[in-house]
C-alpha cells in the first residue's frame, strides 16, 4: 500500500507577516516550519500504516511543493516516521495559486503512481498561511478520485475507509473505497514528536528533489503570472484602539461592563 501525505512549509504563524511588492506573501524573510495542521495528516498516515501491521508493506511518502526551505517540512515528516520524501522545487512555482499548486501536487503523485500505485493521499484541513482549504478537493478532481475530507476519526479495513466528521449541521460517517484523497482535522488526535531515533533515522531515508521538468509540468502552467486570480491591493488593518480596562472589585467590574453594554445599546 502506498500513502502520500501532502505537507506544506508555512511561515510561522506568530511572526509578523508581510506582503512582497507583487502582493504575494513574503516567504523568505519569515521563519517557516511544517504547517501544524499537516502534522495531523502525517500522524494519521502513520497510524493507517501501523494498523496495517508489519506484514503489509506500506510506504508513507511525504510530498511538499515549495521553495528550498520547504525541504525542512519534508524532513520533519521523515523524522516523525514517514519512509520517503519528495520535494518539488522550481523557481517557476513561486507565487502559484491553489489551482497551480494542485496541478504540481497531482503531477508529482501521478509520477509516484507510475512507479507503484498510490492508494491514499492524505492532506491537512487547511494551510495555516493562505489557508483556503481547497487543495484537497482540487487534487481529488485532478486525480479523478473521491475525496473524503475533514475527518476527525479514520478507520480502514482493507480497501474500505470510513471516517467521521463534525459538519455544520450534522455529524456524518462517510465511506469510500481506496484510492481516495483524505483530509484530516486537528480533532483527529495529537501528532507525535520526532524521537531522537527518528531524527537520526530520517537522515538515511530516501529523499527526491524534483523539478517541474521531472514531473512533466511546463513552467508556463504555474507561477504568479498565470494565476487565475490576482490580488490588487493589500492593507494592514488599523490596530484596534486601546479600550477601557477596569479591575473588578466587589462587583464593580460587572456594573461597569453592564453600563458599557447599555451605552452601546446592546441591552
Amino acid at each position: 500500500m502506498n500513502i502520500v501525505v501532502c505537507v506544506k512549509h508555512v511561515p510561522d504563524s506568530t511572526a509578523d507577516w508581510q506582503f512582497e511588492s507583487d502582493n504575494t506573501v513574503d516567504r523568505v524573510s519569515v521563519d517557516g516550519l511544517l504547517s501544524e495542521l499537516d502534522e495531523y495528516a502525517v500522524e494519521q498516515a502513520l497510524q493507517v500504516k501501523e494498523k496495517q501491521g508489519d506484514a503489509a508493506e506500506v510506504t508513507v511518502t511525504a510530498l511538499s511543493v515549495g521553495p528550498e526551505k520547504a525541504a525542512d517540512a519534508v524532513r520533519k515528516a521523515l523524522q516523525m516516521g514517514a519512509d520517503k520524501g519528495v520535494h518539488v522545487v522550481d523557481d517557476a512555482i513561486a507565487g502559484s495559486d491553489a489551482i497551480a499548486t494542485s496541478l504540481v501536487l497531482a503531477k508529482a503523485i501521478e509520477k509516484l503512481g507510475a512507479e507503484s500505485k498510490v492508494d491514499l493521499v492524505v492532506c491537512g484541513m487547511a494551510s495555516t498561511d493562505g489557508g483556503m482549504s481547497v487543495v484537497p478537493a482540487m487534487l481529488a478532481e485532478r486525480l479523478a478520485l473521491p475525496q473524503v475530507t475533514l475527518a476527525s476519526v479514520i478507520e480502514t479495513q482493507g480497501a474500505q475507509v470510513r471516517i467521521k466528521r463534525d459538519g455544520d449541521v450534522a455529524t456524518e460517517v462517510i465511506g469510500a473505497t481506496l484510492p481516495i484523497v483524505l483530509s484530516v482535522t486537528d480533532q483527529s488526535g495529537e501528532a507525535r514528536y520526532p524521537s531522537f531515533k527518528g531524527i537520526m533515522a530520517a537522515k538515511k531515508k530516501p529523499f527526491d528533489t524534483l523539478s517541474l521538468g521531472d514531473i512533466g509540468v511546463d513552467a508556463g502552467q504555474v507561477g504568479l503570472s498565470v494565476a487565475y486570480s490576482a490580488v490588487e491591493a493589500t492593507e494592514a488593518r488599523p490596530p484596534r484602539t486601546a479600550g477601557e480596562i477596569v479591575t473588578d472589585e466587589d462587583g464593580s467590574g460587572a456594573k461597569a461592563l453592564v453600563d458599557f453594554l447599555a451605552g452601546k445599546k446592546f441591552i
Partner: protein
C-alpha cells in the same frame, strides 16, 4: 445582464440566511439565478423564499440520485448549469462543503477561485472581492482573472435585501458520473438544536475558554440574557466541555458579530483569527496580561465566576 449563479445553502429545503446574502450580492453583479439542489418536494417552498430575495430564476436540481454522496455530484451539476448559462460569476457559501464544491468546480471550469470573501462589489471587468487574511491583520482586494469567477462568500458579508424576483423555475436534469459517487454518506446525525442563534449569524456571541474550568452554564446564561450564541476556544473544545461546532478560530468558525464577549480566553493568535473583525470586543480574564486585552473595547480584569453571573443578573433586570 449576465446571470450570476448562487448555490443555495439550505437544510432539507429550509433556505439558510447566507443564501439570501448571496442573492443580494448577486444583484450588484448581474441577474441573480439561484441553484437549488435538493428534494423535489421541498423545491416549491424554497423557490417562494428565494423569490422574495430577488432570484429571477431558480434552477431546481432534484437530488434524489445524489444526496447521499459528497460534493462531487454537486460540482458536476453546477458545471452543467454553468455550461448552459455562461454566468458572470458563481457565488457559493464559504462553508467546508461550499469550498470543496468550489475547488472541484474551479478545476472543471478552468476558472479562478477566491475563497472566504467578506465583501464582493462590481468592478471593471468583474467582481472585486475583499478578504481578511493573516488572522485578520490584513485586508486584501482581489479579482479573478481567468474563466468564470467562482467566489465563496462568508456568512454576514451583506445584509439580505428583500426584492421581489421573478423566480422562474427551470427543472435541470443534471447527469452525474459514477466517478462522482465514490464517497458516500453512510450515516448522519443531525446536530441537536440549542434554540440559540446560529454561531456565524448571531449579532452577539459569548465565548468561554479554559478559564471556565469546564462549567459553561454562566457563559450560556449570559448568552441567553443577551439573545446571543455560545462560542468557545479550542482549549474548551479539546477538553470535551462543548461540541466542536462552537469553536471560534482558525480551525473553527469565523464570527464577526456586533458584540463578542470572551470569558476565560487568553486570546491566542489562532483564536483571534476567528473573532478579530467583531465590531465590539469585550473580555473578562483574571490575568491583566492576557493578550485578549490588546483587542478589547472594554475589558474586566477579574474572576469570570463572579463577574458573569452578576452581569447576567443586571442585564436581565434592565431588560425586564
Amino acid at each position: 445582464m449576465t446571470e450570476i449563479l448562487v448555490l443555495v445553502d439550505h437544510l432539507d429545503g429550509a433556505v439558510r440566511k447566507p443564501a439570501y446574502e448571496l442573492l443580494t450580492i448577486a444583484r450588484r453583479l448581474g441577474t441573480p439565478s439561484a441553484v437549488f439542489i435538493g428534494g423535489a418536494d421541498k423545491a416549491a417552498g424554497a423557490v417562494e423564499s428565494l423569490k422574495k430575495y430577488g432570484a429571477e430564476k431558480v434552477y431546481v436540481v432534484d437530488d434524489a440520485q445524489l444526496k447521499s454522496y459528497l460534493v462531487a455530484p454537486k460540482a458536476e451539476a453546477l458545471q452543467q448549469i454553468a455550461a448552459q448559462a455562461s454566468p458572470g460569476a458563481i457565488l457559493i457559501t464559504s462553508s467546508g462543503e461550499g469550498k470543496e464544491i468550489a475547488g472541484r468546480l474551479a478545476i472543471k471550469l478552468e476558472s479562478g477561485l477566491i475563497t472566504d470573501a467578506v465583501d464582493v462589489q462590481a468592478g471593471d471587468g468583474g467582481p472585486v472581492t475583499t478578504q481578511s487574511v493573516f488572522a485578520g491583520s490584513y485586508t486584501v482586494q482581489a479579482k479573478v482573472t481567468t474563466g468564470t469567477p467562482i467566489i465563496t462568500v462568508k456568512p454576514n458579508a451583506a445584509a439580505p435585501e428583500e426584492v421581489a424576483g421573478a423566480g422562474a423555475v427551470e427543472q435541470f436534469a443534471a447527469t452525474v458520473s459514477d466517478a462522482a459517487k465514490g464517497a458516500q454518506i453512510v450515516a448522519s446525525q443531525p446536530r441537536q438544536s440549542t434554540g440559540r442563534p446560529e454561531l456565524t449569524e448571531a449579532a452577539i456571541v459569548v465565548s468561554g475558554g479554559r478559564g471556565t474550568g469546564g462549567d459553561f452554564s454562566e457563559v450560556e446564561s449570559l448568552a441567553d440574557a443577551l439573545g446571543g450564541a455560545v462560542g468557545a476556544s479550542r482549549a474548551a473544545v479539546d477538553s470535551g466541555w462543548v461540541p466542536h461546532s462552537t469553536q471560534v478560530g482558525q480551525t473553527g468558525k469565523t464570527v464577526s458579530p456586533q458584540l463578542y464577549i470572551a470569558a476565560g480566553i487568553s486570546g491566542a493568535i489562532q483564536h483571534r483569527a476567528g473573532m478579530q473583525t467583531s465590531k465590539t470586543i469585550v473580555a473578562i480574564n483574571k490575568d491583566e496580561e492576557a493578550p485578549i486585552f490588546e483587542l478589547v473595547d472594554f475589558g474586566v480584569v477579574g474572576d469570570l465566576k463572579a463577574v458573569l453571573p452578576a452581569v447576567t443578573e443586571q442585564v436581565t433586570a434592565r431588560k425586564g
